[in-house]
Symmetry: none
Subunit: 229 residues, 2 copies
DNA sequence: CAGGTCCATGACAGTTTTGTGACACTCTCT
DNA sequence: AGAGAGTGTCACAAAACTGTCATGGACCTG
């Protein structure tokens, strides 16, 4: 991640665009702005921004089409996109998220909220974009090869344990509730018992804490679990 | 978010204020109201509302000044603010949003709409607040990692102690009565003995005052406790 | 300094939350 | 079909945490 992440704002309400630009620049981002979908795609190709804020209703090309074309091109498929929708356009949001938007904001929104989401989306993007292996402490996880090592020694993990560990390593140190883990690993609408998470955590611990090693997973009572950093 | 979010209405048109209060209370919010900017700031400090409805034209201190001072104080910087402006005061709105207002309403408005915006603003507030870690003196608390350190050394805390400390660190130096602590930590309608607070304060002290360290919690006789700054 | 109020502290019994081993099932591969 | 790995639940054990109380000390007031 560069020191000053680049943002592209695609928004044709000039007053709103200006407001967003003003706030983002104050926050230290490098900001480009356009009101036009075609131009947006050109600018993306040219500058490869770190995140895109995309209004749903813009000139020439609807937002969803921009998004679709971004996702189709491998070079831009990983750039995080936050879409802006009007209040109540539930269906747009769903279609947007399905097409690969990373987050959405309903107008009107507060600038502070937008900044928070940008930050969140940038933070999340880091591990995803690279296809790089994740490293936390003496843990290393290669998402492509599906391989994990602890202090260099290979750690055999089952599929579920692997997904849990990925989730943790993308958020080192952050407490994850059982609900969050269920959503992330099993999917939003699985009807799995909360306590099942405990059992998988145990299996993960057993596999990953080779004899004599400190526990990498911290239990936070009445809150969840966190990967130690 | 507490079961019944607290609102502060800052509005000096008494008829309008009364109307708003009536509607908000009907909706289940706990509502405070004042017509005066200075007093509003005091009330915020005291009660830490979950959202503020702020008229732009009020006595003594203009609305924007109230907002600016709210945002400057770290303890209150995250409280969502909905501003009320007269029709056509476009510039005020822009300035307000730039200063950190979360939403605005143009008078006249329907109570229905106001309630909808309050709800939206409360819902959005949640994730935003969680970001930064709190620092007071040599104490540091990371709400995301659920982790506390004193002078760099980790401090293990139980869930209740943790919540109490969060409450204190959001209001450094400010005396909190046992009642306030009960409301904030246990919830408004818990039937817990007041003296139970004492015991938890003691446990918190024990955990946080490592040997040789000064006590961070000051007892204020017949008033409550405060976190030393 | 007597008497009262308020607070600190240790103990404790009851709850809640988490750890753990076992088991039945499903899937895949052979 | 049989073997083997991986999963989701359960029941019980082990920890961790809680709320209350009784006691004694600290502080105040007259």
């Amino acid at each position: 991640m560069p020191a000053r992440p680049k943002l592209l704002i695609v928004e044709d309400d000039l007053a709103l665009a200006e407001l967003i630009v003003w706030h983002c620049e104050a926050e230290g981002y490098v900001v480009r702005q356009t009101a036009d979908g075609e131009e947006a795609l050109l600018m993306v190709a040219e500058q490869m921004p770190d995140a895109i804020i995309l209004d749903w209703m813009i000139r020439h090309v609807p937002g969803i089409e921009v998004l679709r074309r971004l996702r189709r091109d491998k070079a831009t498929a990983q750039v995080p996109v936050i879409m802006l929708t009007a209040r109540g356009e539930e269906e747009d949001r769903i279609r947007g998220l399905k097409t690969g938007a990373d987050d959405y904001m309903t107008k009107p929104f507060s600038p502070r909220e937008l900044l928070a989401r940008i930050e969140a989306v940038l933070r999340r993007a880091r591990p995803v974009t690279g296809g790089q292996s994740l490293v936390v402490g003496d843990l290393e996880l290669d998402p492509v090869a599906h391989r994990v090592t602890r202090g260099g020694a290979p750690v055999p993990l089952g599929p579920t344990e692997f997904r849990i560990l990925v989730h943790f390593m993308e958020r080192p140190g952050r407490v994850q509730s059982r609900e969050q883990l269920l959503d992330a690993v099993w999917g939003m609408d699985s009807d799995i018992e909360l306590r099942t998470v405990d059992v998988h955590i145990r299996r993960l611990r057993k596999a990953i804490n080779l004899p004599g090693m400190a526990d990498v997973i911290r239990t936070v009572r009445s809150a969840g679990y966190a990967l130690e950093v």
